[in-house]
Structure formats: structure tokens, C-alpha cells
Amino acid sequence: MSIIRTEDLTYQYKVLSDEEGEEREVLKKALRGLSLSVRPGEFIAILGRNGSGKSTLAKHINALLMPTGGTVWIEGMNTSDEERLWDIRSTAGMVFQNPDNQIVATVVEEDVGFGPENVGIPTEEIWERVEKSLKAVGMTAYAKSAPHRLSGGQKQRVAIAGVMAMKPKCIVFDESTAMLDPVGRREVLTTMRELNEQEHITVLLITHYMEEAALAGRILIMDQGQLVMDGTPREVFTQSEKLKALGLSVPQATRLADELRAAGLALPAGICREEELAEELALLYRKKKEALP
């Protein structure tokens, strides 16, 4: 069964438009008939230019928004079913962009326990969950710290632990690395991969960094409220012209590999990670060297 499934998902909203002093309501479509299926355990990156509907889609997965057309199912639960709202939100958690807007308590462990406490989990179990969640994000040593003393990456990891404490099966990261410095970004990315690989949590990562998307197993690309590309990083990043037309780009490793290939080096197509390129180049270099008399 899919963990996330949308069928013909549409979302429109009204805005007030002021044309020549005359105000009138205009309908805007943020999502236009989007159908999508995510299998449990996938690591998916969602790319798309500003305003393409990525965040609107994310908010539907967490039932923060309800479709105005079509349907969204999370583990078979229809997000329009109000009675299942809390089940849906604890199945599909969400981490936002600004770490400072997501922390509510003055001590890290209390912040992490806030979610489960709110839904009436017994105290004993809350502490178990807090401990396990902090361990999963590598923040156990900071359990008693004040969140405002942490770095951006650490705060984001606390926010992730808070989501983990709800025992979600899926986490949506809505540009959760955008405000972080390079080390903070790496910390959060490593945490995401570990949760995916070790805890089998389905990860949806919305990002503008192509290098981050290259780490995913599957990339979805949105444009004007629709899904326009769906494939592995290799399949997606070999289409640099199409990506450019969609306001996107390719990772620097891909660009460098493409340029080297154009200059005559026999590199395979579809390289998208730094390590991959370094390995291929080293391999090529040794092969050529051995071929020498």
C-alpha cells in the first residue's frame, strides 16, 4: 500500500485583486490535478521553482490544507476525514524552514515531549519516546539544554526529534535546510538519511539545493501546480536543458562531469554526486595509466 497517495489533487484559493481601483475576487490554482503515489521507505526530493506548489502539496500531506478537488490518502486515511486528523498528523510529520518558529519549550527534552504530551500519551512512555527520538537525531547530550543556545542545525534536529516522538511513518521536510550554514545542513541531511535507512521512515525533502536532491532515491519536479518529472536522480539530472526551462539546475558534480565528457573524457552519463564523480575519475585515471606501456 502507498503511504501517500493523491488523486487528481487540486487546490484553489481566492485572492482579492485590485484592478484600476476595482476590487474583485480572483481564483488562483496552486495545485492542478496532481496524482502521486509514494511507497513506504522511499527517500524523495521535491524540486520546483518558487510558487510551483511544493509547499502547498506538503501541507496537504499533513492535513494542514484540505483539497478543494481530488483526494489525499495517508496510509489509506482520507485527509478530509476530520475524525482521523490526529492519526494523519502523527503518521505524517512535518519540519519547516525556520528552526526558531518550531520550538516551544525552554528545555530541549520538554520540547521533544510536547507533541506526545498533547495527545495524552502516558508520562512513562513520553520519556521513553523523548529519549529514543533524541538518540535518533544525535542530540541526547543536549536533553537538558536551552534550545536558544543551540546552533541552527541543532535546533532543526530538535524539531525533527519532536516530530519523531509522535512515531511518524513519514516526515516532510519543507526547505528545512534553507536557513542553515553548511555544517548545519550536513547534520540535518545526515539525520534524514539515518532516519530513512535505520528507522525506515519515508522522507519527502523539499529543497532548492540540487546537491541535496542528488542524495534522494527519487526526484519529483513540480511546475505550475503539476507534477512534470518523476525519476531517479540519474534520470532527472541527465536532462539539464529541461531542468533549466523549469527554473532549476543540476548539481555542480553533474555540470563538471558533463563538461569533462564533452572535452573527451569517457565518463558515464548521469553522475550527480561528488563522491561518484571522484570515484569515476580515479577509475578512469588508473585505467589509462595501466594502459601505458
Binding site: 569533462l260 564523480l277 585515471y285
Partner: protein, 292 residues
């Protein structure tokens, strides 16, 4: 024209038990026509430093000179200074508030005491500079895309015709296209108007390819200052400061770790390509490398 910071430091809530020193004494000069990048981990003092540049905050100690005049000297016109040294905050689009883009961009020049007409003329010019044509003038700023909003907000500062433009993470949250456009507009301001550009950034790739000079902050101290080539030669120091190498530098580093004698100092895809091709060409004859 230049902006000079001399032994400036900044302490929040000085003299109280809550006292926190965000910036330890440092000296720095910003010249017109150059791009100075400020990099550092979250909380390293970058935003504190740039808020000293136009007198928004007064340094706890030390002095700031604009064109050799002490900006906290008696009778110094700091309001005029804020038009000369324009500050663009993080996510400046959250500060858009007027009904139309044109009105919003006019706000700065009008506040400086310019006439309505002159304000509009300058606003139009600033909008064109950031690639917002006439069709944007009467639109609501809230109807624009993320990249357009960001450019409208920057136009609001440009309309004051600053000599030095200071931007706090100008490309954060923008898609690659929006980012590319904005950066090339900033570079043309430097080239065509000889503007000085100070840019706080978390993107090592942008900084490596655009900056003339880089300042590295760590825990409120300036730990390095130099050209991109000098700065990105110090991987260990950068890692300690919460930073990283640009992607292409990392690829070359990995090659070197794998025992390939490659020249690692590259700041762009083009330079990395050259270094790798040199490696493949130099070690053997070209017929063997497969390079035509």
C-alpha cells in the same frame, strides 16, 4: 569612497548580567566596486557586523568611518548615510507592505525627502535594474513570486541610490533561476555603477565564484580575511568554523585523497575542469587518455 570599520566590537545588553559579546574587536574596509563576502556559521556574528555598517547599531567600542567621517561624530547625518550604505535584510520580502510595487519601492527615496516625482523616477530606475518591468508597477507586491518579491525589496533599497549595498543572505530560499538572475544583477551593479557589494552568504559556491574578498567569522571573531583562493585553501579551518568547501573544491580534494596528483585550487566548474584535464593530459600522451 569607502566604509571603514576600526576595532569595532558589539555587546548585547552590555553592563547587565545578560551581557553577550556578539562581535570581538575587528577592523575592515569596504571599497566601492568590490564584492566582499562575509561567511560564518549561524550565530557567528555576521548579521551583527553588517548592522554596524550603516549605523543601524552603534558599536560598543571602535569607530565606523564613511568617506573618512566618523558616522557617530557630532552632527553626522546618519539618515543620509542609510541612503549611501543600503542594507537589505534577510528575507526582505516580508517587509513589503504597500499596495503596489511602485509605491513600495518609492518608500525609501520619499523618506529621504525627495519629491514625489523624483521618488517615482528613481523607483522606476531601480525596478528596471533588478529586472522588474513597467508591468509590475501597479501589481500588489503580495502577488509576486518569491524571486520577484525579493527583487522588489532590493529595488526599494537601490532606489535610494546607495554607493554600497549590504545584503544579508540575498539568495536564501530562491530557486536556482531566481538565484542566478539576482546574482548577475548584483554583479552588474558592481560593474556598471561601481557599487560596493557586501554579501552575507551560506552558499560557498556563490561566494567562491563572485567575491573579490572573503571575511570569515567564527564565534564573533574574524578568523580569516583574504581572496577566495586563499580562504578555500584552508579546508580544516573552514570546517572548524562550521563552513565547507565549494562543491568543486571538494571533488578535487577527494581526487587528491585517492592519490591523483591534481591541482586542488579551483573556484568554479570551469577551473576544476581545466585542472582535471591538465591531470589527464600531463601524465600521458593524449592518444592514450582518450582526449581528442
Amino acid at each position: 569612497m569607502s566604509l571603514r570599520l576600526e576595532n569595532v566590537s558589539y555587546t548585547y545588553e552590555a553592563g547587565t548580567p545578560m551581557e553577550v559579546t556578539a562581535l570581538f574587536p575587528l577592523s575592515l574596509e569596504v571599497r566601492c566596486g568590490e564584492v566582499l563576502a562575509i561567511i560564518g556559521a549561524t550565530g557567528s556574528g555576521k548579521s551583527t557586523l553588517i548592522q554596524l555598517m550603516n549605523g543601524l547599531n552603534k558599536p560598543t567600542a571602535g569607530k565606523v568611518f564613511y568617506n573618512d567621517e566618523d558616522i557617530f561624530g557630532e552632527k553626522y547625518d546618519r539618515r543620509r548615510l542609510r541612503g549611501q550604505v543600503g542594507l537589505v535584510f534577510q528575507y526582505p520580502e516580508y517587509q513589503l507592505f504597500e499596495e503596489t510595487v511602485l509605491k513600495d519601492v518609492c518608500f525609501g527615496p520619499k523618506n529621504q525627502g525627495l519629491s514625489e516625482e523624483e521618488g517615482i523616477a528613481r523607483a522606476r530606475k531601480a525596478m528596471r535594474t533588478v529586472g522588474l518591468g513597467e508591468e509590475y508597477e501597479n501589481r500588489s507586491p503580495f502577488d509576486l513570486s518569491g524571486g520577484e518579491k525579493r527583487r522588489a525589496a532590493i529595488a526599494g533599497v537601490l532606489a535610494m541610490e546607495p554607493r554600497i549595498l549590504v545584503l544579508d543572505e540575498p539568495t536564501a530560499g530562491l530557486d536556482p533561476e531566481g538565484r542566478g538572475e539576482l546574482l548577475s544583477e548584483l554583479m552588474s551593479l558592481r560593474r556598471e555603477k561601481e557599487m560596493g557589494i557586501v554579501m552575507v552568504s551560506h552558499s560557498m559556491e556563490d561566494v567562491a565564484s563572485l567575491a573579490d574578498r572573503i571575511v570569515v567569522l567564527s564565534h564573533g571573531r574574524m578568523i580569516m580575511q583574504g581572496t577566495p583562493r586563499e580562504i578555500f585553501d584552508e579546508e580544516e579551518k573552514l570546517n572548524e568554523a562550521g563552513l565547507a568547501l565549494p562543491s568543486v573544491c571538494r571533488i578535487l580534494q577527494r581526487l587528491k585523497e585517492k592519490g591523483l596528483p591534481v591541482e586542488t585550487g579551483a573556484l568554479s566548474v570551469e577551473e576544476a575542469k581545466k585542472n582535471i584535464l591538465t591531470l589527464f593530459n600531463s601524465s600521458q600522451s593524449s592518444s592514450v587518455t582518450g582526449i581528442s
